[in-house]
């Protein structure tokens, strides 16, 4: 399967997290993911975007379709060391153990994980 790539930017306000969830849900359902997989993906992306919220900076979400599932990447302003952010990352890791922070192209950080689509 060739990789299809999708991306969206949302304003940095909590009320737009639903838009991010709708975006990844649409991509996941496009590859016929199970509803449980969609729910897990929704939760992880919502938590990742909540970490990424930063005044004045849009939240960028990228999704690629892979054989193994959906590769998700969310740009972060920093590692998010507030207690809430650590808890959010713990939830993401619980859902997707391969979740990792990797350097972005512009020196920022990217939270990335692969969500298997069962």
């Amino acid at each position: 399967m060739s990789a299809n790539r999708f991306r969206v930017e949302i304003p940095p306000h909590p009320e737009y997290l639903g838009t991010a969830r709708a975006f990844v849900s649409a991509v996941a359902r496009g590859v016929e993911a199970s509803e449980e997989s969609v729910a897990d993906l929704n939760l992880a992306v919502s938590e990742a975007c909540a970490i990424a919220l930063s005044p004045g900076e849009p939240v960028r979400i990228r999704v690629s379709t892979l054989e193994a599932g959906l590769e998700v990447a969310v740009d972060l302003r920093d590692a998010g060391n507030e207690t809430d952010d650590v808890e959010r990352r713990d939830i993401i890791t619980s859902l997707f153990p391969d979740a990792a922070l990797v350097p972005g192209a512009d020196g920022s950080l990217v939270l990335t994980f692969v969500a298997p689509m069962g």
């Binding site: 639903g18 449980e36 729910a39 939760l43 919502s46 938590e47 909540a50 959010r88 939830i91």
Partner: protein, 65 residues
């Protein structure tokens, strides 16, 4: 608190529940959650909050003896 119609909850929502429980605990009150299946119950399990809250499958169970 009946969560059966909650379509989505993340750690922000869970934080509100935990804060509410803390306030009720301090006032010698109690809270139980009603949810029997689906994403909400899964989130509670992932975060371990299914062990912190009393979770029931129905309002009747929650209010029962």
């Amino acid at each position: 608190m009946d969560l059966e119609d909650v379509g989505f909850i993340d750690s922000s929502g869970l934080g509100v529940l935990v804060q509410g429980k803390k306030q009720l605990d301090e006032a010698d009150g109690e809270i139980a959650l009603v949810v029997h299946d689906g994403p909400t119950l899964r989130v509670l399990a992932i975060t371990g909050l299914d062990k912190v809250f009393r979770v029931h499958a129905s309002v009747e169970d929650a209010l029962g003896p």
